[in-house]
Symmetry: C2
Subunit: 138 residues, 2 copies
């Protein structure tokens, strides 16, 4: 949609990976966890149930695609999916690759310690690899 | 499905509310947060992307219905939805009503402190109210 604007906090903390049919896919700039965020390109939506039922299904199928892709690229033990939005109200869905060896395991990543930005060159590599694997045009 | 069995940890920590077409709806026995758990009645599924695409959509629409119901019953500020499964691997989707005044706000409820069981009479009241609002037969 023409008037879609990404929340400023999401914009600051992520790098754009590419666009799926319903959602923009962002890479969380936190090298502690391979972490994608999907943002449906619609304004004024903060709860999953604010979407039309068909869009709820479509958005979650995109989250599932992101999860499968992240799992196969990282060899994760478990994918964690979450839509919280207590701080940033624009609807966004976290898709995070988790391993037993990661810093927060088995707890959630949300609210855990401080974000650790990637070395830029490494973030760019991740971003491109993800865009290709997702078939998501930048 | 005939061979569906609920994970023993989920069974211990929850009370059965009712059945939606794809998922059993459980009330987390934790009076700190109004908290539902949806469990698709299928065995051997631990990731959202293990489901067929049509089931992914249907399960998430049921999670959205549970979220809307919980929000209207509790007057929550925000609904948090999560599928983590780092500890319990049977696919289950948390739907939690959050308020600024709750103990964990704005952090996640998962891994936060210790569960505080309801007084049984109050849990039973919640359970019945939720079953009726969801139109979910017990």
């Amino acid at each position: 949609m023409d008037d879609f604007r990404l929340d400023p906090t999401l914009e600051r903390d992520t790098a754009f990976v590419g666009a799926l049919p319903r959602c923009d896919v962002l890479l969380m700039d936190d090298c502690r966890f391979p972490w994608l965020i999907l943002v449906p390109r619609m304004m004024g939506v903060s709860e999953l149930f604010d979407l039309e039922p068909a869009d709820q299904g479509a958005v979650m199928r995109e989250a599932a695609i992101a999860g499968r892709t992240l799992k196969s690229l990282t060899g994760a033990t478990k994918i964690n999916i979450g839509a919280l939005g207590n701080i940033v109200r624009q609807l966004h869905i976290h898709v995070v690759a988790r391993k037993e060896s990661d810093a927060a395991w088995p707890g959630p990543v949300w609210g855990f310690g401080a974000r650790e930005p990637y070395v830029p060159r490494f973030r760019e590599g991740m971003r491109l690899k993800l865009a290709e694997a997702l078939g998501a045009p930048a």
